[in-house]
């Protein structure tokens, strides 16, 4: 895990150093910032040193828990990341739950009705969902939400941001509801993207498990269909789904960028784009590290779920 993070950081740091641009460009262009101050900042962060030395200095600071300073946001990187990470985690969690609660039952249903019309309808929809680029779907839904009249109960569906203006004046319950409403649009966009793939895997895995001899054996013993499906087939069919969950969760955290940008969700994707565009060195490095860390955490999560789903493994 540590060697992988080191490798990722070396590659990212090297690429960033090779790319044109200057993290202090904004400050240099500002006549009110004296040259003396800029040189002091350069010395402080080691921008005047060779790249390998810059990297080692950065690494030394990171190991001590100091992620550096963001010149773009004019705040410590750790603060920016913490705030954005929370928003991205919230979105990832919401859309993952939505995806799973829809895709797995649909996949199993499709498998049970193999080659009948429900399976065919769901399959066609799944391929449409898989083929739709998320940015296009996001734009479509944004348009839909903007022309939708005020709905009972929900009101208007917000088309961007994390909270409404005037959030601070709301009570605790109203605050939660406000965030949930804002989650709706980006959450649905991400869920539809993941839904299709997961539904296909759930269908295929269920079909494969249902053709196993131990399923025939269970039926031959006179077990009810429900008992055969949930007692024998499902736990075995869930294995590939759990492996997928580990990847998807981390992919959502880093790969939700398009959706975040279009729906102005203040998450990691948006901040990563802004950081790269202004060559905000330390912020870019922090987002890269976060992405890799989350992939590892996602896989760990999948391993834990595998163990939980498998009675042969005893966690001690």
């Amino acid at each position: 895990m540590i060697p992988m993070l080191l490798g990722v950081s070396i590659i990212a740091f090297g690429l960033l150093s090779l790319s044109p641009g200057d993290p202090l460009a904004a400050q240099r262009g500002n006549p009110q910032v004296p040259d003396e101050l800029i040189r002091r900042i350069e010395r402080q962060y080691g921008f005047d040193k060779p790249v390998p030395e810059q990297y080692l200095r950065w690494l030394g600071r990171v190991v001590q828990g100091d992620l550096g300073y963001s010149f773009k946001f004019k705040r410590p990187v750790a603060d920016v990341i913490a705030e954005r990470m929370a928003a991205t985690l919230l979105l990832a969690l919401f859309s993952t739950l939505l995806t799973w609660f829809l895709a797995v039952p649909l996949g199993v249903w499709s498998a049970l009705r193999r080659s009948e019309w429900p399976d065919q309808v769901v399959s066609v929809l799944a391929f449409v969902g898989m083929s739709l680029p998320s940015f296009f779907l996001a734009l479509l839904l944004l348009y839909g939400a903007s022309v939708l009249p005020e709905l009972p109960l929900i009101g208007r569906i917000p088309i961007g941001g994390l909270v409404s203006p005037g959030f601070d004046q709301l009570g605790p319950v109203a605050r939660v509801l406000d965030v949930l409403k804002h989650l709706l649009l980006p959450g649905v966009v991400l869920a539809i993207g993941g839904l299709a793939g997961l539904q296909r895997v759930a269908r295929g895995s269920t079909l494969e498990t249902l053709s196993q001899p131990y399923i025939l054996a269970a039926r031959a013993r006179g077990l009810s269909d429900r008992r055969v499906l949930w007692g024998h087939a499902f736990r075995n069919a869930a294995n590939p789904l759990i492996t997928l969950l580990g990847f998807e969760f981390s992919a959502l955290l880093s790969g939700a960028a398009f959706t975040e940008i279009i729906t102005s969700w203040p998450g990691m994707g948006l901040v990563a784009l802004e950081a790269v565009r202004s060559k905000d060195m330390f912020l870019v490095m922090a987002t890269v590290l976060m992405g890799s860390l989350l992939l590892l955490i996602g896989n760990l999560l999948a391993d834990i779920l595998h163990a939980w789903n498998d009675p042969r493994v005893k966690l001690s």
Binding site: P213, L216, A217, R221, H232, P311
Partner: protein
């Protein structure tokens, strides 16, 4: 009245193809198969892979829906059973599969595998399930220490014993054995066959023993039904059929069993490949491989007749 009686059983499978997965044609896996099984008797279905013997077994258990024919248990039609009658039928007719590794749920312990049937059919009280499973384990030569292990911790022979224990737990009257030893080592095969023989002697259970190995079959079967491309071509008492096979296909099968001190007779060794059941040969399905085939065999299919207690389907006997 026979315990189990099968009449004119036919099973086919759809072949799908093309963009929309439509049914293009049907493979006729089993055609017009009839036989009777008495209590305490072992009837063996033999033939090459793909001849429809396993499909026959599964259709009898209602794991597959047949196209035609009737299956009678104690004279009662099995194909129309529903609800309680079907549950009772499932208890009375059990199956043991070929590959014991695939036939056991990897996430269930040996105890759970055997106990589930007992519980579902309410054969013992919850409190005495474990004791009953112990008894059954003892019967098949497994011990108490095996109860809570998962299938991956067993050898092939032990797994097959669990598969047999699972079927025996329901105290069935008919046991379909679908190639129960062909996935096992030869040394273990004999142990499992002896176990099955003991159980039959003790319980009077009827076995439908599906196999492709004549060497195994001649040791266990009382009667023999030879299948070729979905049809029975010869049927009779096992000893007689093995000693004096009549149908050319049976003769090939019997001659293919290696034996000590004999040279295989030239010309009677099985030759050629089993034709695809998608495009079965005209007339007698065996004619492309038969050394005695004549024009009539290519044109007309022999319906078969019973001659001195044995069924045979060949024009030139």
């Amino acid at each position: 009245m026979s315990l189990l009686s099968v009449r004119g059983l036919s099973v086919s499978f759809p072949v799908r193809g093309g963009l929309w997965g439509r049914v293009r044609q049907r493979v006729h896996a089993v055609q017009d198969v009839s036989f009777d099984l008495q209590a305490g008797e072992t009837l063996s279905l033999v033939g090459e892979s793909g001849c429809g013997k396993s499909t026959t077994g599964r259709a009898i258990l209602r794991l597959l829906e047949p196209d035609a024919g009737s299956i009678l248990l104690d004279g009662a039609e099995v194909r129309t059973m529903e609800g309680e009658a079907l549950r009772s039928f499932r208890r009375q007719v059990q199956i043991v599969f070929q590959d014991p590794s695939a036939a056991l749920n990897p996430r269930r312990t040996a105890f759970q595998a055997v106990a589930e049937g007992l519980i579902v059919h309410g054969l013992v009280s919850r409190a005495s399930v474990r004791d009953r499973v112990r008894e059954i384990f003892d019967l098949v030569g497994l011990s108490d220490e095996h109860l809570d292990r998962f299938p991956h911790a067993f050898s092939g022979g032990q797994r097959q014993r669990i598969g047999i224990a699972r079927a025996l737990a329901l105290e069935p009257r008919v046991l379909v054995l679908d190639e129960p030893v062909s996935a096992l080592d030869v040394s273990v095969q004999a142990q499992v066959l002896n176990l099955l023989e003991d159980i039959q002697a003790r319980t009077g259970m009827a076995y439908l023993f599906i196999a492709h190995d004549m060497g195994v079959v001649r040791h266990v079967a009382h009667r023999l039904a030879v299948m070729y491309l979905g049809r029975i071509v010869e049927e009779g008492p096992a000893e007689e059929v093995c000693a004096s096979p009549r149908h050319p296909y049976t003769r090939m099968l019997v001659a293919s069993v290696p034996s000590l001190g004999e040279r295989s007779t030239a010309g009677t060794v099985v030759r050629g490949e089993l034709p695809s059941p998608l495009t079965p040969p005209s007339g007698c399905a065996f004619h492309p491989r038969c050394p005695h085939a004549q024009d009539r065999c290519r044109r007309e299919r022999p319906q078969g007749e019973v001659v001195s207690g044995r069924f045979q389907a060949c024009w030139y006997l």
